[in-house]
């Protein structure tokens, strides 16, 4: 009875629209004619266009190279970004777990990138990565690492790296905090015992710290991975309209609202949902994550 209002809202804002999206994917809905949508079967996904003379071609999402390019971009982005975020997050967490004067201040300041809106982060980095007036090119030239300025966001070779850079910068604090929370639950006596036995710190890290912090780390990886697979803001703001960085979300929205292919965009959204769900389930299954345990306690 107390649950009902919350469940109704959640149903109206999540489950019903999801169902609608899936339905639109099987219709010929267009932006200005949503209500008159008619069922067209799988045409948005795959269709054989027959030229009549024993020739033809496959049309639809599953035959669309730009879509598969977007899928590859998204997965590549997610894998690289989350790997670096985990690595840097682990380093920062280990530093913050050591006792040193000013630790509380450092821990607070490390959170700053996380607090900055994604759009603002993308703009800030867009300016720092500017090909002519950007400070990053200036630094790299002064350090002698590059000879001529790089067009970070404009060039197809570096655009994805630029997007990843912003994402890694912005979300590493989140990872660091999760891992830090895990580290702080490891009792000090374990380290004490290891120290007394004279065990090499690297070995302690590999045999004690890492296994114990693994659950927190995996939760972080799942959260971040899910976020990375639906990435939209950074790409849309930092590198609009490039094949090199177009992700599944950007592709879907483009079709929904810019190209007036509402049904086709809905089909892409549905497929994105399926892909994300499969990856999530697969990852949870592979790492045998203890989700149930967290439910019941």
């Amino acid at each position: 009875m107390f649950l009902a209002p919350m469940l109704i809202v959640l149903g109206a804002v999540a489950l019903f629209p999801l169902g609608q999206t899936i339905w639109f994917g099987f219709t010929d809905a267009s932006l200005n004619n949503i209500d008159a949508a008619r069922f067209v079967g799988l045409r948005n996904y795959i269709e054989w266009l027959d030229y009549g003379n024993d020739q033809g071609e496959w049309l639809g999402l599953l035959a669309d190279d730009r879509w598969w390019r977007a899928v590859r971009n998204t997965v590549w982005f997610a894998v690289v970004s989350v790997s670096f975020e985990t690595l840097f997050g682990l380093i920062i967490a280990l530093v913050l777990n050591a006792k040193f004067p000013g630790r509380a201040v450092v821990r607070t300041l490390v959170l700053v990138p996380w607090a900055i809106p994604t759009v603002v982060s993308a703009k800030m980095w867009g300016w720092m990565l500017h090909d002519q007036f950007g400070i990053i090119n200036d630094m790299l030239i002064k350090l002698g690492l590059i000879a001529t300025p790089i067009a970070w966001t404009a060039s197809a070779d570096t655009a994805m790296a630029a997007v990843m850079m912003v994402d890694i910068w912005k979300t590493t604090p989140f990872m660091a905090l999760l891992i830090l929370a895990g580290l702080q639950m490891i009792p000090d006596d374990i380290y004490e015992a290891a120290r007394l036995d004279g065990i090499n710190p690297v070995r302690v890290f590999r045999k004690v710290t890492l296994p114990l912090v693994m659950p927190a780390l995996l939760v972080g990886v799942v959260f971040r991975g899910l976020d990375a697979l639906r990435v939209f803001d950074i790409v849309y703001v930092l590198t609009p309209n490039t094949d090199a960085t177009r992700t599944m979300s950007v592709y879907a929205r483009e079709n929904l609202f810019d190209y007036d292919k509402f049904a086709y965009g809905s089909a892409a959204s549905t497929l994105l949902f399926l892909i994300v769900a499969l990856i999530t389930i697969g990852f949870i299954y592979l790492t045998r994550m203890d989700l149930e345990g967290k439910e019941t306690d």
Partner: protein, 274 residues
């Protein structure tokens, strides 16, 4: 050897701090420059010129957009906490069948990619006549604030001892009274945490705000900043963009600095046991 180790450690701390703070510092620096000065790369402030900030508020639209963001974020926090408190009371305290399933459902909704519901929500919002209304954002933001607030508040409530409400039940208090009189005072810390995170999330949201608003005066600040552009690619007003960015980011950084303990506990709640 020992000194080298300590020096190395502090060098690492310095690098961590520098990478975290430099981009925002540089945005502030750029926002204080105008005209040609912007195109000279500086590492330290040379001039302090507030004209970008004055220009940002000149036509009144940006001020209006800030108010939009404040309105949407505040209402989202109030509404989602209202729903979440009663729901989490039921989930934490009232035993009934299928409780675990409902929690699992809520958790899975929080994993929904926003884009997967975008076209359905768009149709729904148009049908409700909310297109280009700030209420469409209040409504649609429930998709990420509700699961999160319910989840954290349920975890928090389960940890409160049973005895506290048993006395009230003995006295014949109704559930709503128990929630209001017994739980609300105890829940304050958790409410502040979840409220803050919901506020920040709503303040930063971009995809829905971009899609459901069609006129300048209805937009929220992230969209406004994303859409600032010049007459051509070579005339992008970086100074104004940075000034606007600093204005919308400063309140958030202030919140984080003041409430960092609460925010950290909220971020890690549910993710880590304990």
């Amino acid at each position: 050897m020992r000194i080298a180790k300590i020096a190395g450690f502090y060098a690492l701390v310095a690098i961590i701090l520098a990478q975290a703070l430099f981009p925002f510092y540089y945005a502030v620096l750029t926002s204080l420059e105008s005209g040609q000065a912007i195109f000279d790369v500086n590492y330290l402030p040379k001039v302090i010129d507030l004209s970008n900030y004055r220009a940002a508020f000149e036509d009144g639209v940006f001020g209006r957009q800030i108010l939009n963001s404040v309105f949407v974020s505040t209402v989202v926090v109030i509404v989602s906490l209202g729903f979440a408190v009663t729901a989490s009371y039921a989930l934490a305290r009232v035993p009934f069948r299928g409780r675990g399933k409902i929690l699992l459902l809520i958790l899975s909704v929080s994993m929904f990619p926003q884009i997967a519901v975008l076209s359905g929500l768009f149709a729904l919002i148009r049908a409700m006549g909310l297109f280009n209304s700030l209420w469409s954002l209040v409504f649609s933001y429930m998709i990420f604030t509700l699961p999160f607030t319910v989840w954290v508040l349920t975890t928090f409530m389960r940890k409160l001892p049973k005895e506290i409400e048993e006395a009230a039940i003995m006295d014949g208090a109704a559930p709503l009274t128990i929630i209001r009189r017994v739980f609300l005072p105890l829940l304050w810390p958790a409410l502040v945490t979840t409220g803050l995170l919901a506020f920040i999330h709503a303040w930063n949201e971009f995809l829905f705000a971009l899609t459901f608003m069609s006129t300048d005066t209805q937009r929220t600040v992230p969209v406004a900043i994303a859409l600032i552009s010049g007459a051509s690619e070579f005339e992008i007003p970086w100074g104004s963009i940075m000034a606007a960015s600093v204005i919308v980011t400063l309140p958030l950084i202030a919140l984080v600095l003041v409430f960092q303990r609460k925010i950290i506990s909220g971020l890690t709640a549910g993710a880590v046991k304990g």
